[in-house]
Structure formats: structure tokens, C-alpha cells
Amino acid sequence: MKDEEPREVSASRRAFLRGIPVLTAAAAALPAPALAADGKHHWAMLVDVRKCIGCQACTVACIQENAVPEGSFRTIVSTYSVKLTDADQPAGTYMLPRLCNHCEEPPCIPVCPVGATFKREDGIVAVDGDRCVGCAYCVQACPYDARFINHATNKADKCTFCAHRVDAGLLPACVETCVGGARIFGDLNDPQGELRRRLDAAKAEVKVLKPEQGTEPRVFYIGLDERFQGKVEGQGTLWQPRKAHG
């Protein structure tokens, strides 16, 4: 027995060491997002709320990547202090990353008076900045408060799933930078992709925000507490972003 133990250890060590180049090579060879092999893409995101640590790295990365002006946000991690009744400590923290839901039935599109906002074939809801008149009707129509008027461009602005990065085969900046791996981006049409597999595996637990609105969001959540699914009932934040203008 004494002779066998080191062999087992060394065998496992050998396996481990042998595996390293395989892992690194595989990582290098993989295109960044879990792209579908062929066919049309339908981009979506899964947010595993349980893994979010509320670090706001996604918020900052998005601002940096998309030059979002001061005081505006395309994504943010809404953070709540929640009273606990079944624990020793009085309150816990709940984090909820928010962004454009890239709805299948986006209420922002039909209201746009000049057809500036549209849904791409790959499911991304986008704004044609050359056409937008800045009427803000879409801002009103979005049930998720995901849109705003960009004061630098005076046009409607929102999360684009970092379309410019996705088109180049990269992940959205918020996904790339997520510390806890809470944001999973991928192709709904790719049965082998991580997004599809994770969604299928967690089927019963998957929720969307404000399902009663009939917007069919393409941002899904795991670990979404019902109290945060719609408008949150509680005390509003006292912090307001500093106005970048006026």
C-alpha cells in the first residue's frame, strides 16, 4: 500500500500537468462568446443573481466601453438592504443587475415616431442615432427604466449588449468584467452554448422582470426574488447621480 500511494499522487499530478496545455490551448482557441456553430444568432443574457457581489465592475466597464456620460447608466447593479427575519443579523444585501432587456416584444419600438429604434435580426434592440429626434417617447414606454436621453448626444440611449463587441466576436463589456461570473451572454439558438444549457438546466428557476407587461425579455434571471421582479416597494435611494449638465 505504501508503494501505491505516491504512484496515485504522481499519477494525478501527471494528469493535472498534462491537462494544463490542453486547457490553455482550448481557452485560446475558443472564440470569446459561446457562438452558435451556424444559423442565426439570437443574443440573450442570463443573470445569476446569486453570484452577483454588487461590485459595480459591470457598471464601470459599461461606462468606459460605451462612453456613457456622467450621471447616466446603461447598466447598474441596484442594491437593496433587506430586513431579515430568519437570521441573527438584522439585514442582508440584495443585488440586482439591471440593463435593457432586449425584449422580444419591445414597447419602445412601436412608439418611436421616426422608426429610429429597431430590433436587429440577432435580437438586439438598437437605436439609429442618425435618425433619432430625441423625443424620449421610447424612454417613457420602456417599463424597465432602461432608456435615457444621452446629454452628450441628445439622443435616446440604452444598453446595446455591446453590439459593436459582439459583432467582432467579443463578449459585452459587463460580461467580460463580471467578477462573480453572474452574467452569462450567449446565443439562444445554440443548443450547445453555455447560455442555452444553463437556461435549460435551471428552467424552473428562470424568471424575467415584469412578466405581466408581455414584453418577453431576453435578459433572464436566476435567483430573482419576487419582491424585486416589478417596481420595488420600499424606501427609495437617497443618492442621485450628479447631473452632468445644466
Binding site: 441596484s78 437593496y80 433587506v82 430586513k83 414597447p107 412608439v111 421616426v114 435618425r131 417613457q140
Partner: protein, 365 residues
């Protein structure tokens, strides 16, 4: 009581429809409301309505010409207004509105010109201010009843479409439960008509001698009716919300009920309406006061709906707090619109003085 949930980090979205939008909805409402008041005297030739109807037409014209400027200024890209016509989008009521406004304004300008032509000619003949321009505009000063009726028909179509679209485009916003009630267009219409009557009453009071008392009383009765309807609609709204018979009204009520600000606004609106109604019934001669009260209610209603409505977060907790900026995005929008309104009023009443417009004489008789 300590709430179970306290939001510690979130974004407070700024209001996106600015005070310019409030001014637009206020002025376009006053315009079509006042235009309706012009009908009894000018189109239906009801005795005793001639003067007040002409004053109402002036109100419709001044407000109607000011309103689109406010709308344009509310766009964050005003220079791209032509996109509305280049990229018509039939699914959007705002897109349709861009076509309804010119229909209404074309009809209104034509109708006003036809109605005021004889008076313009008389003004020129009597050597009034800008007589030369008045003579040119009068273009002979003939009265054409048929043309006036045709213009009235066109304006009616435009006014109906404008009243419809301004109500429906807001009502359709499901994301804002406070706006998403079928009674909203009715409330807009009733307060617009009351505001139109109110402005005509204020003009009437500005006439030498304080205006025709009989006309003031007649208008007071009409105003009282609008206030009664406004109260009834308010009661229906509240009953639908409180009883839960209508989920959309219940949701709208639930959204604002916890807010102290909203309670004050609701009480204010009810008190203003009741006071206007009581004064109009018991002291029908108080034309200026009830006129101003009606104008105030029409503006307050729109301010509360638009600015107050945007203070309700769609996802976040509590309410956003809005402070009126002093620049073009806030106070200057209100002051600027008022300035343009006064400018147009001065120009039009220089060309055709208020007392000439309000003189109780049948047009072209």
C-alpha cells in the same frame, strides 16, 4: 416604521419630457378648447355669443401658434423635426400627431382669417395701427360664409384629431400606470375646454367696461358644467381605482397613493375645481377669477401628470425628486413659451385690437 427594503444604490432617471412638453399640452389644449368656444357665435350664430366667440378664436390662435414651438423645443434634436415627415411610422401616435397638428393649424389660421377679415378691413378703414398690413391681410374684407364653414369643418377635423392623439399617445404608455388609464384623454379634454373658456373669460374681462356681463354669465354656466364633468370623471377614476373594478385604475392609484406630494396635489385639484364650480354658479359675474382658476387647473393637471408621473420610478423604490432647473430645460421653457405667447398676443391685438374683436357684432352682418 422602518421599511423592509431600503434601496441603497440605484439610478434616478431624469425626467425626459421636460416642462416644454407641459407647455405644449397646455397650450394645444387651450387652443382646441377655445376654438370650440368660437363655434356658437361664429358658426352657429347663437345670439349673445358673437363677441365672446371671437375672443375665444383669438385665444385659440395665439395658443395654437405658440404650442408647436414648445413641442419642437421639447425635442432633444429640434433640428431633426423633418424626420417626422421623412420617416412616417404608422405604429406611433406621435408620428400621426406630426401630421394632425398641421391639419389643425392650417384650418385654424384659415378659419381665423375668414372670421376676422371684415374686422381687419374696418380696422384699416378707420386708420388703426398697422392699417396698411391690416388692409393687405383683409384682402378686400369680404365675408364668405361658405368658406368659413369649410374652414370650420377642416379645423374641426384637425382639432378632434389633435385632442385624440394628445390623449391617446400618453394613455398608451403602459409602463406608466398613472398615464395608462382610459379616462386620461377625457380628463385632458375636459380641462382643455375649461381652460379655453377660462382664457376667453380673461380676454372678455380685459375689454373696456369689463366685457359683456351677459356673455360672462353665459360662459360661467359653461365653465361650471366643465367643472362638474371634471369632478364626475375624477370620482369615477377614484371609484374604479379603490374598488378594484378596473385593474389599470387600481394600479394607477396604488402607484401614487403612498406619496404625500400626490395627496396634496389631489386635494389641491379637487379644491380648485370645487371653488371654480361654486364661484361660477353662485357668482357668475366673477369672470376673471373663475377664468384664471380654470387656466390654473388646466396647467396644474398637466404638470402633475407629466412631471409628477415621471417622478414615479418604473422599477426602483420610492419616488424621484424633481427640482425645476432654472435653464432651458426647466424654468426658461415655461418663461420662454409665455414670452412667445405674449409676443404673438401683442402682434395680433395690435393688428386687430381686443375691443374690436370682442365687440358684440355679427361677423359680416
Amino acid at each position: 416604521m422602518t421599511p423592509d427594503i431600503v434601496e441603497t444604490v440605484n439610478v434616478a432617471r431624469e425626467i425626459a419630457w421636460l416642462p416644454w412638453a407641459v407647455q405644449y399640452f397646455f397650450l394645444i389644449g387651450l387652443s382646441y378648447g377655445a376654438w370650440l368656444v368660437s363655434l356658437p357665435g361664429l358658426v352657429f350664430r347663437r345670439p349673445g355669443w358673437e363677441g365672446i366667440s371671437r375672443l375665444a378664436l383669438l385665444a385659440a390662435l395665439v395658443c395654437g401658434l405658440t404650442a408647436p414651438v414648445a413641442l419642437l423645443a421639447d425635442l432633444h434634436q429640434p433640428g431633426r423635426f423633418w424626420h417626422f415627415y421623412a420617416y412616417f411610422t404608422p405604429t406611433s401616435w406621435m408620428s400621426w400627431g406630426a401630421f394632425f397638428i398641421p391639419v389643425y393649424l392650417t384650418g385654424l389660421i384659415l378659419y381665423a382669417w375668414l372670421a376676422f377679415r371684415p374686422a381687419l378691413a374696418r380696422h384699416a378703414d378707420e386708420g388703426g395701427k398697422l392699417a396698411g398690413l391690416a388692409r393687405v391681410l383683409a384682402y378686400g374684407g369680404h365675408e364668405s360664409r361658405k368658406a368659413l364653414m369649410a374652414a370650420a369643418l377642416l379645423t374641426f377635423v384637425g382639432a378632434a384629431l389633435v385632442a385624440l392623439y394628445t390623449g391617446v399617445e400618453v394613455m398608451l404608455v403602459r409602463a406608466r400606470p398613472l398615464w395608462h388609464t382610459p379616462l386620461l384623454p377625457v380628463q385632458f379634454f375636459v380641462t382643455a375646454l375649461a381652460g379655453g373658456l377660462g382664457l376667453a373669460l380673461v380676454f372678455n374681462r380685459a375689454l373696456p367696461g369689463g366685457g359683456d356681463p351677459a356673455a360672462t354669465r353665459r360662459m360661467a354656466v359653461a365653465l361650471a358644467l366643465t367643472q362638474l364633468v371634471a369632478l364626475l370623471v375624477g370620482v369615477v377614476w377614484l371609484v374604479l381605482g379603490m374598488s378594484g373594478m378596473s385593474p389599470v385604475h387600481a394600479q394607477a392609484l396604488a402607484e401614487v397613493a403612498p406619496s404625500a406630494n400626490w395627496k396634496v396635489s389631489a386635494v389641491w385639484a379637487v379644491v380648485a375645481t370645487v371653488v371654480t364650480l361654486a364661484l361660477a354658479v353662485r357668482r357668475p359675474g366673477s369672470g376673471l377669477l373663475i377664468g384664471l382658476l380654470a387656466l390654473h387647473s388646466a396647467w396644474m393637471m398637466r404638470w402633475t401628470i407629466f412631471i409628477g408621473g415621471q417622478e414615479v420610478p418604473k422599477t426602483g423604490a420610492g419616488y424621484y425628486s424633481y427640482q425645476l432647473p432654472l435653464g432651458p430645460e426647466g424654468l426658461m421653457g415655461i418663461v420662454g413659451t409665455a414670452g412667445l405667447w405674449i409676443f404673438l398676443f401683442v402682434v395680433l391685438t395690435t393688428l386687430l385690437p381686443l375691443d374690436r374683436i370682442g365687440r358684440a357684432e355679427r361677423v359680416g352682418a
